[in-house]
């Protein structure tokens, strides 16, 4: 039996459905991320696990016990907030020891546990500081220690790194993962940052408009997206429409040019339109791959380690992004140059019926 189990969870606010038929079974010690754009229901689901919101339907169970109707202070679930939520009137030690004092632990035990946790978060010398005397990253470390002090059954983190700058975010997310692994605590992490979710999680739950789009490991979600939404939201993706020319052989026509998928097309018959997608890093300039498309370079963008080349296909209607690793010896084509891009059949993901929105639209919405 799963350690944390959410079954048939629904949440309505008046006429609006915030979460629809949410089912998840997380194992003990697993790190699960809820990933999705603002308003997709990820934080609402987290708050239902914490007990701050009551589900309209469905159950939340931890270690086989139904906790759906339990008050938040009766759940033994630790939570870390985006705004840190440290108690401004208490020192770091006071904050970390708060949950233990609530549990009426003896003073010496509280002091010992606080010392242990401050060492765990690398702030052993900050016990007597007040929150306002700490940086954002330090405050969030203290918030993590405070949540861990009570030895919760489940640790919930609600976008804990959003308020921090990029460098601290990377350092702290590695620390969170290391601490989570060393303590073996079941963790649910809410984020809209796909990089965070991919780098931290054992499994990712991708959500959109209150529904689960896909549950899978970072590898599965990135390489085999189940829907065009997942494909667009996780990583950068070229999403386009193609016509099925030979379903059994995986033959397609895109922008008037023939291409081939590695697997047969099973979701649509010959002549029907389907959504196909391929990652920019799967494409290359030149004629090396089995699939080739001709077009004109629209622009070239340097993104540090990657160079992104956007190419207008021959008809002029479709733009494809091609990513290549930056290299001082790289010859980058000029805008307006005629080029051939190629990719293997394995790069072609046949997703579903044609999308209502382009990849750019979906990314912009996110």
């Amino acid at each position: 039996m799963a350690f944390l189990e959410l079954s048939g969870i629904q949440k309505r606010f008046g006429e609006t459905s915030a979460v629809i038929d949410f089912n998840l079974a997380a194992e003990r010690g697993e790190f699960v991320s809820f990933l999705g754009p603002s308003g997709c229901g990820k934080t609402t689901t987290l708050r239902m696990i914490a007990g701050f919101e009551q589900p309209t339907a469905g159950t939340v169970a931890v270690d086989g016990k139904d906790i759906t109707r339990r008050a938040p202070n009766q759940r033994n679930v630790g939570m870390v907030f985006q705004s840190y939520a440290l108690f401004p009137n208490m020192t770091v030690a006071g904050n970390v020891g708060f949950g233990l004092r609530v549990r009426k632990q003896p003073k010496d035990r509280v002091a010992k546990r606080v010392t242990e946790l401050l060492e765990l978060i690398h702030l052993p010398d900050k016990a007597d500081r007040y929150p306002y005397q700490l940086s954002g990253g330090q405050q969030q470390r203290v918030a993590l220690a405070r949540a861990l002090a009570i030895e919760p059954q489940v640790l919930l983190l609600d976008e804990p790194l959003s308020a921090l700058d990029a460098k601290i975010r990377v350092i702290l997310r590695n620390e969170i993962r290391a601490i989570q692994r060393s303590l073996g605590i079941t963790t649910v992490y809410v984020t809209h940052d796909q990089e965070e979710a991919l780098s931290l999680s054992d499994r990712i739950v991708v959500m959109s408009e209150g529904r689960i789009e896909q549950i899978g490991s970072p590898f599965e979600v990135y390489n085999f997206p189940a829907t065009s939404f997942v494909a667009s939201f996780v990583g950068t993706l070229n999403v386009m429409t193609a016509r099925v020319a030979g379903a059994a052989e995986g033959r397609l026509v895109m922008d008037g040019q023939p291409i081939r998928a590695a697997r047969p097309v099973t979701i649509a018959p010959d002549g029907a339109n389907v959504t196909i997608a391929f990652r920019p890093e799967m494409l290359s300039m030149g004629e090396a791959g089995a699939n080739r498309l001709r077009g004109t370079v629209q622009d070239v963008t340097f993104l540090g380690s990657i160079v992104r080349i956007r190419v207008h296909l021959a008809s002029g209607a479709t733009v494809v992004s091609v990513d290549t690793f930056n290299d001082p010896n790289l010859t980058v084509p000029e805008a307006g140059a005629e080029v051939t891009i190629s990719f293997p059949p394995e790069a072609v993901l046949v997703l579903e019926a044609p999308p209502a929105a382009t990849a750019e639209d979906l990314i912009a919405e996110a």
Binding site: N73, A85, L86, V102
Partner: protein
């Protein structure tokens, strides 16, 4: 800033200064007409009624503050946390003491509590209870506003939820998390309440309470210079209270502004 605008600022400052201090200087000069010098102050401080009424009003003030905090803090906290739509109505209710004069309030209290199941106005203890209750109502606009402003300065929802996730119940959240972070607001509300209670005349008179307000009035009816001396003494006490606010507030203000990234 050019010379002309600097001059204008100085002018505004001087006019403000004179507006504030001239009446005080006038009162002080008037109180010094009694001979020998400072005799008005000596008479006032030697009068046992001065200390008795002042201590009585001070005790009533402290009780009023306690009752007011006990009523307002949980109400304002709950409204902010769970019932934000009720906020305009609560604000309206707390502003009623500005609309309903104290004379109406005290007559209402006397009519209701002179007989019936709770004849509080018939005894000293009951009248004291009525006085504290009436002053609590008078303090609503000041105390509610101060507490509400304090609550706005902290992330009430996150602090509450953080406490709950650590196992705390409502009472502990209020006493250990919310109230300590409202220290400055509570002090402002408390001192404003104290200032109102110490000088209040109408309700104390009609409930026949030995308070400081009626004492000043009585003094004014019988003596010339002493009421001026009493006014200045009570003004000085108010300034001491204001000094205490800023003294207590200095440390706490910096602590409250922290709930976010630095």
């Amino acid at each position: 800033m050019n010379r002309l605008s600097r001059l204008a600022w100085w002018l505004v400052f001087i006019v403000g200064f004179l507006y504030f201090f001239l009446p005080l200087l006038g009162t002080f000069a008037f109180s010094m007409r009694s001979q020998p010098l400072f005799s008005a102050y000596a008479v006032v401080t030697d009068d046992p009624q001065f200390a008795e009424t002042l201590i009585y009003s001070f005790i009533v003030g402290v009780l009023t503050i306690i009752v007011s905090i006990a009523l307002i803090v949980p109400t304002a906290y709950w409204v902010r946390l769970r019932l934000p739509r009720l906020r305009p109505y609560i604000e309206f209710i707390t502003l009623l003491p500005f609309v309903i004069p104290p004379i109406i309030l005290v007559f209402g209290l006397l009519r209701t509590y002179s007989g019936g199941p709770l004849p509080l106005a018939g005894s000293d203890f009951g009248s004291n209870v009525l006085l504290v209750a009436a002053y609590t109502v008078l303090s609503f606009p000041y105390m509610y506003r101060a507490v509400d402003t304090g609550l706005r300065a902290i992330d009430v929802q996150s602090l509450t939820e953080a406490s709950q996730s650590l196992g705390a119940g409502w009472l502990r959240i209020l006493v250990q998390v919310i109230i300590p972070n409202l220290r400055v607001s509570l002090l402002s509300g408390a001192f404003l309440t104290l200032a109102i209670v110490v000088g209040e005349f109408t309700i104390a008179t009609f409930l026949a309470r030995p308070a400081f307000g009626p004492y000043i009035s009585l003094l004014g009816g019988n003596k010339a210079y002493e009421p001026a001396a009493v006014s200045l003494i009570s003004f000085g006490l108010t300034w001491i209270a204001m000094g205490l606010i800023s003294l207590f507030g200095r440390g706490a203000r910096t602590r409250v502004q922290v709930v976010g990234a630095r």
